[in-house]
Amino acid sequence: MPETGTVERSTLGSQEYRGLVVVDDEEIVLTSLRSLIAIATDCRIDCYTEPKQALESIRRNGADLVIADYSMPEMDGMEFLSCVRDFDPEITRVLLTGYADKDSAIKAINQVALFHYVEKPWDNDQLLLIIRNGLERRLLLKQVREKISRLDDAHAEVKEMQMKLLKAFL
């Protein structure tokens, strides 16, 4: 039986570090997600109950996709995700909440350019799909950025050649 929602490392560029960071003040949620990621994907996952520690880790080691609980005592999920965005907008951001509240979902999507909004209790297949698509987005953004910079380089090279040519003829 094929496992739906499996996140294959190969689809994500195997040379890369593919890391998920999850923040929730409830340990039981972290444990559940850790087990899910371990059995159904080959992603790395780091879990934190403290948003501040999670931010530190992201600043140090980077991350590809971040999942944050909405309600946490010290810093709420929105604030946390907006810090993540400030640090690196290419990191895919997912919010977990207790209520399917369309208004705050829309607000969140606009405010922190959220990739997805997941209601607790979540469905594992759905969550895995979101993670896969979110990582793909991250990879595409990266590839686009690299292509642009290569184009820039090429462009600069062409310019330099032009200059050299000009100089040779002048």
Binding site: E3, L33, T97, G98, Y99, K120, W122, N124
Partner: protein
């Protein structure tokens, strides 16, 4: 229903006049000459109306004491000629009306029936207020419970799925082993695990369903208020639930001309959904669900009628209570109609049920066309734990 009337006052001739004037089957009379004894009688007899002859020493204190009783009957003073001034003072102290002697029986009867009517209205308002209050505090309680249950059930639900995945993985690995007694034993154990986790998943889904209902009940979700075509909502909800209907349920629509209605559309859809599902569940053999909409003055009236088994007269008063269900554990949650009630109330409307055993049930919703004051203020949810 009979109206209970208590006549209070010393002079026997006044009591007699009153008694004679009020001889009618709809009025049940009791008499008590002494004011103090009358106050005690109020608890036992719980009259709707008290006719008090103003020969009592202290009408003001009598009225005051009456007001603090749970029954709080409406008081009409029987006032001697020439004491209009005093009667008016007593009106300020809380009497509903006064009648000057000599008594004209026609007038007396008219005034008493007015007083009875007033008492009915007051009782109805009080009932509505207590109901609304009960609903509000229950909402807070439910929100708390739903919030507390949400995260643990989320974890269990996810874990049971992880367990299924792990067992599947192990089964795959074991099946590659060469046949042996150990292999068979391992496979048997994995089979047990697999069945267990499957049951866990299904059990979780049921709990999640209940928690979701509780969340909706507590919060009424906050999508925007806008003017919409109610028929669209009815039709889309119908499409959603129709696939659950048994083939013996036939739906007929009778839509009137309706202007767009200011409302929270998804909440109204929730109302329609609950009523339609209940209706279909009430139909045992062949049956019809009739949906009818009409504009009536400044309101819209929506009726959802079924030809199902009906509701016992004794249950009719309880169906909107949260948790009331006749569907048995694991089938009904008894929350549907209490959610319906809250939503309609928040829209400034009313909902009534009318039922005949064996014939069917009709729910009538009346919604104001214009946005009412209530509807704009009620559904704003109080700050509540979010997520978690």
């Amino acid at each position: 229903m009979n109206s209970r009337i208590l006549i209070v006052g010393q002079p026997t001739e006044i009591r007699e006049t009153l008694r004679n004037a009020l001889q009618a089957p709809e009025w049940e009379l009791r008499e008590e000459p002494d004011a103090q004894a009358a106050l005690d009688l109020v608890h036992e007899y719980s009259p709707q109306v008290i006719l008090a002859a103003v020969d009592m020493l202290d009408v003001t204190s009598f009225l005051e004491q009456l007001r603090s009783t749970r029954e709080a009957p409406v008081v009409v003073l029987i006032t001697p000629p020439g004491s209009r001034e005093r009667a008016i003072q007593e009106l300020r102290a809380g009497a509903h009306d006064y009648i000057l002697m000599p008594l004209a029986p026609e007038e007396l009867r008219y005034r008493v029936s007015c007083a009875v009517e007033r008492k009915r209205t007051l009782d109805a308002i009080l009932l509505q207020l207590t109901q609304a209050e009960k609903m509000a505090s229950l909402g807070r309680l439910v929100a708390g419970v739903a919030h507390e249950l949400n995260t643990p059930i989320a974890a269990i639900y996810s874990n049971s799925d992880v367990l299924s995945r792990s067992v599947r993985r192990l089964m795959g690995l074991v099946s590659d082993l060469p046949p042996s007694a150990e292999k068979r034993e391992i496979q048997a154990v994995l089979e047990v695990l697999s069945n267990t986790s499957e049951v866990d998943c299904i059990a979780c889904e049921r709990v999640i369903d209940v928690v979701r209902n509780l969340k909706t009940f507590a919060r009424l979700d906050e999508a925007e208020r806008k003017a919409v075509d109610i028929h669209e909502g009815l039709d889309s909800t119908l499409r959603l639930v129709e696939c659950q209907f048994k083939s013996n349920v036939h739906v007929s629509k009778d839509y009137g001309e309706l202007p767009p209605i200011e409302c929270y559309p998804n909440q109204l859809n929730e109302v329609f959904m609950n009523l339609l599902v209940n209706a279909s569940e009430a139909i045992e053999g062949q049956g019809i669900i009739k949906i009818r909409t009409r504009r009536e003055g400044d309101s819209v009236v929506i009726t959802i009628a079924d030809t199902g088994k009906g509701i016992l007269a004794a249950d009719l008063a309880k169906i909107f209570d949260p948790g009331f269900t006749t569907k048995g554990p694991g089938v009904g949650t008894g929350l549907g109609l209490s959610i319906v009630y809250k939503i309609i109330q928040a829209h400034g409307g009313t909902i009534e049920a009318d039922s005949t055993m064996g014939k069917g049930t009709t729910f009538t919703i009346t919604l104001p066309l214009a946005a009412s004051q209530r509807a704009t203020s009620v559904p704003v949810p109080e700050p509540q734990p979010h997520g978690g």
